[in-house]
């Protein structure tokens, strides 16, 4: 009996954590961000010579806080990204993997341009902006609710469905632009009407205010409304939700309508408040980045405000570093990619604990050998 050969206990095993103190979780996350910035500096030193290591840090901050214009850009880009992140958060909280924010925002933008094209100059600009809001939300909701209906009724895979809808939206925008611009250049010029006014001489201020208000509203929605509670129950366990009498199908469709509304708003802010034009790449991957940002912020609006600010900070800073040491714009995509890998990876240490094999004492070992 004593010579039954047992497997050696593995060097370490992974245990799921029940809960981790909030402070500790944030320490892990901040450590990941710091490591990400250090790795970024290291990569730039490898690619552009040793002196780039120090230049990385100064360039990072200079690119974001160097001039008032850059600070304004920081907040403007954060606002747009945060708005889209707020849009995807409710669906993700429900574990509805909507990766179609790109297309939904684009459809919102298309809705705006439709208004400007057919009503611009005919009605008052403020009224026009209101109509633009209605239209962009309508377009965007259509785009987000179609996959939701199919998911609710036939359990159609929403990840793949929403992904495809992105490209249909892009082609639709390209198609509309060719229809509006007869020359065939495929470039829609600057829109004459329906542009947001400047506040205090600065552009984008309205965008920032709107998104700030939406952040607070979404926080309240998640925290204090019955809807917010229901969608987090559906996300935790669909069976539990059914058991307590939540209509899961209704929650899915309702939440995706909400997503659509916020995406439409983001489209309005992009077209009416930022670029004053539309192209099939106006959203520029922000629909996907927003998912990462929302996920990093654990779908809590205040945390998402922080993570989107952090993302824009690193992206904008890394672009400045790339110009400074002369290694091309694509450098910032590599740095943000590394940033994401590390910050995504660090979640493991928050959710799981690694337990190492306890060290055995010498006597124990010798006893075992004798027994074997």
């Amino acid at each position: 009996m004593t010579n039954v050969k047992t497997d050696r206990e593995p060097l370490f095993r992974i245990i799921k954590r029940d809960n981790i103190p909030r402070g500790k979780a944030w320490v892990i996350r901040i450590a990941a961000v710091v490591i990400a910035i250090l790795v970024g500096a290291l990569v730039s030193a490898i690619l552009a010579g040793g002196s780039a290591f120090g230049a990385f840090f100064s360039g990072l901050f200079d690119g974001v806080f160097g001039t008032p214009r850059r600070i304004l850009n920081l907040f403007q880009n954060t606002a747009i990204l945060l708005c889209i992140a707020l849009a995807v958060a409710p669906a993700f909280k429900m574990r509805f993997w909507n990766i179609g924010a790109e297309g939904q925002v684009l459809m919102g933008g298309l809705g705006c341009v439709v208004c400007v094209k057919y009503l611009g100059g005919k009605i008052d600009d403020n009224a026009l902006i209101f109509v633009m809001f209605i239209m962009s939300v309508a377009f965007s909701v259509v785009w987000s609710v179609i996959p939701a209906i199919f998911k609710a009724k036939w359990r159609t895979n929403e990840t793949l469905f929403t992904l495809m809808m992105n490209y249909v939206a892009m082609q639709l925008v390209a198609l509309s632009i060719f229809a509006w611009v007869p020359s065939g250049s495929g470039v829609l010029g600057t829109l004459e009407h329906g542009n947001f006014p400047n506040v205090g001489g600065y552009p984008y201020i309205i965008n920032i205010i709107i998104v700030a208000v939406m952040t607070v509203l979404m926080f309240l929605y998640f925290r204090f409304s019955k809807h917010g509670y229901e969608l987090s129950v559906v996300g935790e366990s669909e069976n539990t939700a059914k058991y307590v009498g939540i209509n899961v199908k209704k929650v899915i469709i309702r939440t995706m309508v909400l997503s659509g509304v916020l995406c439409g708003l983001a489209g309005l802010l992009l077209v009416g408040g930022t670029s004053f034009t539309l192209a099939s790449d106006t959203v520029d991957g922000r629909g996907f980045t927003a998912i990462l940002v929302a996920w990093l912020g654990k779908f809590s609006p205040p945390a998402m405000a922080f993570t989107s600010l952090l993302y824009v900070f690193i992206d904008q800073g890394a672009k400045n570093v790339a110009t400074g040491v002369g290694i091309g714009d694509a450098f910032s995509e590599i740095i943000t990619g590394i940033f994401f890998f590390l910050v995504i990876g660090c979640e493991f240490f928050i959710n799981y604990k690694i337990k190492f094999r306890p060290r055995k004492k010498k006597e124990e070992n010798s006893v075992e050998e004798v027994a074997a």
Partner: protein, 317 residues
Amino acid sequence: MFLAFLQSSIRFSTIFLFGSVGETLTEKSGNLNLGIPGIMCMGAAGGIIGASTYVEAVGTSGIEAWGATLLPILFCLLFSGLGGLIYCVLTATLRCNQNVSGLALTTFGIGFLSFFGGRAKTTGFSTISNFFTLSFPIGDSPNWFETLFLSYGCLVYIAIIIAIIAAIVLKKTRIGLNLRAVGENPATADAAGISVTNYKYAATLIGSMIAGLGGLFYIMDYLGGSVEYSIDKFGWMAVALVIFTVWRPNWAILGSILFSMLYLLPNYVSVSFAEREVIKMIPYLVTIVVLVITSIVSKRESQPPASLGLSYFREER
């Protein structure tokens, strides 16, 4: 005219075929790898780095067929495998969200290609490309058979062979059965003594390497050695193709030809710019229709792997 259209469609389908076969293998293990566009970019970047390293080592006059093809392929496999490894460490070992990890990988891969592609020295690339496009000796005036079947470079045939092998392995072998079990229900597979982690790693790494070859094909064969960065859109189409062919690599051969015909059609018929965009929309619309129909009919054989997109942790119930 039609012959030329069909020929270039078959040639162009290679990029979709590599991508979708790679993604099918990955998805069969339950990993919904949305990093495939990024991995294809990384594969292309690997090919570029391999080619420029080779040219630097031997000089433009010393380029020979074997080195010029094998070294870029090797580097391509290495870098796309690296992309798959990053994804696998994040999702299979660290059990992070697959969608999020995949999207981050795509961001990284696109940046990786435009960074290294922009810095690489491309001298000698057209010579190297000539070795990649080298076809069977068919003479100057080939008949229809030779045009359709013998006029391609090596990667086109490799893609079709890989697709057939993947189909056979998935359908007929024990390894394929185990892999499908891992994708359908990892807990059951684990209980049956199949190493879930090993299968996930193997399938994702091999799948990524196959997909990476698609990026290499685009740069070295289709573009004749000139560097372009917009490979990610083909990656997304490859992801669409996986659904379109309901997770079957052998169907992917025909599906990818159909997709590339739709993609190239505007170049062969005279259409307005607006109509061109409508034609480009068709592959995505068709994919949506297939997705919806398969979910409504809900036939067992044509469903996505049941645990697609979910991480597996043994102690979770």
